[in-house]
Amino acid sequence: MDGPADANLFSTYDTGGFFCELLAASERSRAGARAQGKLAAMDLERLRQRASDAERELYNFGITFTVYSQKDAIDRILPFDVIPRILTADDWDVIERGVTQRVATLNAFLWDIYHDQKVLKDGVIPSELVLGNANYRPEMQGLDVPGGTYVHINGTDLVRDGEGGFQVLEDNARTPSGVSYVVENRHLMQRAFPDLMAGIGIKSVSNYGGKLHDALIDVAPKEVAEPQVVLLSPGTYNSAYFEHIFLAREMGVPLVEGRDLEVDSRDRVFMRTIDGLKRVDVIYRRLNDDFLDPEVFNPDSMLGTPGLMRAYAKGNVTLANAVGTGVADDKAVYAYLPRLIDYYRSEEPILRNVETHICREKEALSYTLEHLDELVVKPVGEAGGYGITVGPRASEDELDLCRAQLLADPANYISQPMIRLSVCPTLTDAGIEPRHVDLRPFAVTGRSTWVLPGGLTRVALRRGSLIVNSSQGGGSKDTWVLES
């Protein structure tokens, strides 16, 4: 037993008026209430002890950050918080349908812009926003990808507002990472808190590798009987190498680097084995477009394989995700997603976008400038939470700087209202406190779409912080989707 019966882990917990994931799940579902009750019965010291055991395990696993020396810091992991984030079956139903709708729209949009460009001709989205986008790849024009699938793996960043409604913050349709944490966090929880999880009814996340492999086989070049799938990694020094290992293992496929592959004069891809060259049919690449093929993209890249695009253009190999998906998850294109859902599917968006002002548009720019101290201003090209100005928290100087940047290059910015991000109770030095969270569910698409029931819950570990990125002091939590 953890602690005396009358102890309550949450007795001093104060949500600060924010929407609390755990309390909401507890109110809205019986299984959620059971989980909350079990947690509440835990004693803080015991919880800390188990959290430190979990940390020790991560350290021995070599996937945690150590401060010994920079040389070894390549094995960094998101700090792990032991209090799970719980989603009810109803929450999940909305997310699953919404993500599926979004992925279908992204794929339809990509097929269109790389073929007939009807969406541009119909004026649904400005042509220059697509064709002038740095991530638009003219090499993809007219290339038929199997099943019409460009985005095989998609990560949709969701936040929850003050009323508990889900909103899409952004799409990640290039090489989204984080799914390994979803599965590893669950395994960690199963070892550290088997008693907590017993009898709750949580959807399993362990079959991601199998589902991904199936999807990739589905989109292999047609004539191949037993397609050889590989995972292409930039190598051991990449910050996501741990995840590449995880995925290759879970799928049971070789993890290759660019130097392990070669393309012959007939534009076929092979890998170098101890018995010579072996044909490769599908490449799950965790390498950005720029580095894939020095013959076509960055000529200085040593990470890719010369000739890969030749093989791809001939349909001799499938790349997942397809080349050129970056144009679809661009922050500026994001603003048009609701219109694209209507255009391609004649449907209402199941998941709302965060209200977005596209500063390239005159009205939006003047609105943004007038309400600068209420809005969050984001550069469209950046990732990782960099370059963001949070109006309500910014000083006068910071606002002035932001204003100057906006006026100098309005097309580079969007603005959004500040969302009262939901919170989740989190173990801190000061006890159990609310911390803001987001959610990245992962969708896998071969011929159809499957959404992993769970997702990466990132938590802003600093009090009051809204930025959950690992490079900005974020951590992660296990994410439970309740069966009922």
Binding site: Q228, R249, P254, I274, G276
Partner: protein
Amino acid sequence: MSSLLSRYAEAIYWLARYVERAENMARVLDVNETFSRDSQGGQNWASIIALYSDQDAFKERHPEPTAEAVLSFYLLDDSHPGSILSSVRAARENARTLRPLISTEMWVHLNTFFNRMRALRGDDVAEERVARSLAWIKESCQAHTGITEGTFYRDEGWYFYEMGQAIERADQTTRLLDVKYHLLLPSVADVGSPLDLSQWNAVLRSAAGYHAFRRIHPSGMTVARVADFLLFNRRFPRSVSACVDTVNDRLTALRSRYGLKGGGMALERLDEVRAVLDNEPVDRVLAQGLHEFLDWIQLQMLDVGSLVGRDFFGYQVPETPAATAVQGQS
């Protein structure tokens, strides 16, 4: 058809070599530490440096070959590729590359081993305490070998693991024998003296061969018998002969079981070594110079390693392989 990537085969091979190298370095330091108690002082420690041809690298870092300096150089020195720390680091780096193939237990153990090595400080390798540190280093290497044996999937990769281990072990056994040679250069008068014999005894023990040796030679210990045992006894797993058998077996299996085309020239080279091991009596080896014979063995194993690298890992090796290191120390 085999689909093991060349790069993985190479990493497995080197993973095995680096762990074996770390273990044997611990053995060499251990036996030397035992010798140095015999009032020979700093002289003894200089011989280790000579044994590994590390004179220049050592001089860059330390003025004198004191026990402290030599132990730090071979145990803790991050900047010295021949140190145990560097070997364990290299083993871990190879294991990191191999994470998709090796068992989680192998990885966690090596990672923990490396973290422990990295935490070693000067105090832990001071002369009076170094034996303890060397003991757990040896044990950690053996734990790795045991975990690998018990968990590593038996496909082509396993053969490369065993091959790397055997090639390194043969090389290291010759070095262990050579320590004795370098240390003492005994005059004819000393041969067979109590001091001389106690040192041969220590060599045997450091190769964990004393008890096995006693099973076939219940009494008495001569130089010839010890050398014969460590070089030619096919049943003792650390002997040169046993290691050559292992490499030969694994290469043959890779070709027959997996239909691999490579390895032919390496097998030819092993045949030549086998012929010498079978036909060269130990007395003649000793008469013509043990050191020279050990050198020859080392060069042959180096060549075998290069030929394996050429055929399976894609190394660029000249037609007549030169006696140069392909990777790591020579």
